[in-house]
């Protein structure tokens, strides 16, 4: 994009950041699987990005930078949840919000539900590459691993996802309360 001399730094950050919000929300939701939590994570991510805007490398990849922040926020969130013990796990099974789209897809294979069975590393690589269309190199940057690791992790993740889906509907396990 052409940078005009008139654009103030503030306008600049608003437009650039907001353009990324739909994708950030999608990634956060696919990870957290709860709408409010996902938006909390996105909000944290954006707040952090704003406070560090001046530290951002001008030539750096904004999208990769934001997704890295968001993923780290989610990992922090997971750690916090683990510390608080098992009761919180139930929160993952939302009492009422069974989303219409999910319901529809359960019959033909709820891939999103199956994805929940995978460790975060594998979920993230599938989402970044397969959904967010990050190049393998960009995904390596966000995940902070070498390119070769991205390729092998992606392969293992898709294999695991296939197995989960073949094994039946794991989401039924946590639908039953």
């Amino acid at each position: 994009m052409a940078r005009t001399g008139k654009t103030t730094p503030l306008d600049d950050s608003s437009a650039l950041l907001e353009a990324q919000i739909p994708a950030l929300r999608r990634y956060a939701y696919a990870l957290a699987r709860e709408h409010e939590t996902a938006d909390d994570l996105v909000q944290d991510c954006l707040e952090k990005a704003l406070s560090r805007w001046h530290l951002r490398r001008r030539d750096g990849d904004l999208r990769a930078w934001l997704f890295t922040i968001l993923r780290n926020r989610y990992i922090d969130f997971l750690r916090g949840r683990r510390r608080r013990g098992a009761t919180v796990q139930l929160e993952d099974a939302p009492p009422q919000p069974v989303h219409a789209s999910q319901e529809r897809h359960v019959e033909i294979g709820d891939v999103l539900g199956a994805l929940d069975q995978l460790p975060e590393e594998q979920r993230s690589v599938i989402l970044l590459v397969g959904i967010e269309d990050f190049s393998y190199e960009e995904a390596a940057k966000v995940l902070n691993v070498p390119l070769g690791t991205v390729m092998s992790r992606l392969s293992r993740a898709r294999q695991k996802l296939r197995q989960v889906l073949e094994a039946g509907r794991p989401c039924l396990l946590w639908r039953v309360k």
Binding site: L10, S13, S14, L17, E18, I21, P22, A23, R25, R26, Y29, A30, E34, E36, T37, D39, D40, V42, Q43, L46, E47, L50, S51, F77, G80, R81, R84, T87, V88, L90, E91, A93, P95, Q96, S101, Q102, H105, I108, G109, D110, V111, L112, L115, I126, V129, G130, I131, Y136, M151, S152, L154, S155, R158, L161, R162, L165, K177
Partner: protein
């Protein structure tokens, strides 16, 4: 045909799933897959699952951005947050000065948030997380027995309780339960629900003497406002943002305030 080709690797197969092979490599991979139907079936399955996942998540991507994520509002909150923080420091300094200077002349020993009300918030959030997800038994005594519920909890806590009316915020009382409190005391939880089934809890426990300002805590999606007042700790928890929860907490505070300070019958009934 005659050009030697690199053997097909797993990375080629993944790139095929992602549709990222250049035409030359694509041709090589496709001819490999034609000879290996089992691998071809697996690659096709992975490609399909990738598409299904994209479809499932397309709706989330298309959703309008909630106002709270607008950069303008985040920036405004940041500035307000900065000011609040300064005010809080200023208030802390003022309290300290008043405390040192005026001592017992103040009837209410106001003090800044301490560990005590942090643990009230913590206990309240644990109780929230434990019971809000309950489908079968969210409460011990239901709202249909509100009088009994309030009398019982008041007696056990040693404080006249009321179940604040939160209809103005769309919440109705579901009921409540008795919980073990801190330091061997007891605690009570009142649970509310709105029309969408979203729940909110009020947590009350015996706590330190004194009075504190509202304290805000957030843990994941759960926000809590807590405060200490006349030997009791109070907390309001819900999956709401700061501003909306603050309105409810203020209303709860005012509602509970009309109650008499303590019951003559005391604790332990």
């Amino acid at each position: 045909m005659t050009t030697p080709i690199m053997p097909i690797g797993e990375d080629d197969l993944q790139a095929h799933v992602d549709g990222r092979l250049d035409p030359v490599r694509l041709a090589a991979v496709e001819s490999y897959l034609a000879d290996h139907p089992e691998v071809a079936a697996r690659v096709e399955l992975e490609r399909k699952q990738r598409e299904m996942l994209r479809t499932q998540l397309a709706q989330k991507f298309a959703e309008p951005i909630p106002p709270r994520l607008r950069i303008a509002s985040l920036r405004a909150a940041r500035h307000a947050g900065g000011r609040r923080w300064l005010l809080r420091i200023a208030a802390g300094v003022a309290l300290f000065v008043i405390g040192v200077g005026a001592g017992q002349f103040l009837h209410i020993p106001l003090k800044p948030a301490t560990m005590a009300d942090m643990s009230v918030a913590n206990e309240a959030m644990i109780a929230y997380r434990t019971y809000v997800v309950e489908v079968a038994h969210p409460v011990e005594v239901g709202a249909q027995n509100e009088q009994h519920l309030v009398r019982w909890l008041s007696k056990r806590l040693g404080r006249q309780l009321v179940a604040p009316k939160l209809a103005a915020f769309g919440y109705h009382l579901m009921g409540g339960r008795l919980l073990p409190g801190m330091d061997g005391g007891v605690a009570a939880q009142l649970m509310y629900e709105d029309a969408a089934g979203k729940r909110l809890t009020i947590y009350i426990c015996s706590g330190d003497d004194g009075q504190t300002a509202f304290q805000f805590d957030r843990d994941g999606s759960v926000s809590t406002f807590s405060w200490l007042d006349q030997g009791f700790g109070f907390a309001v928890s819900a999956a709401l943002d700061h501003d909306r929860l603050l309105q409810v907490a203020q209303s709860v505070y005012q509602n509970l305030d009309v109650a008499e300070p303590a019951l003559a019958s005391g604790k332990g009934g």
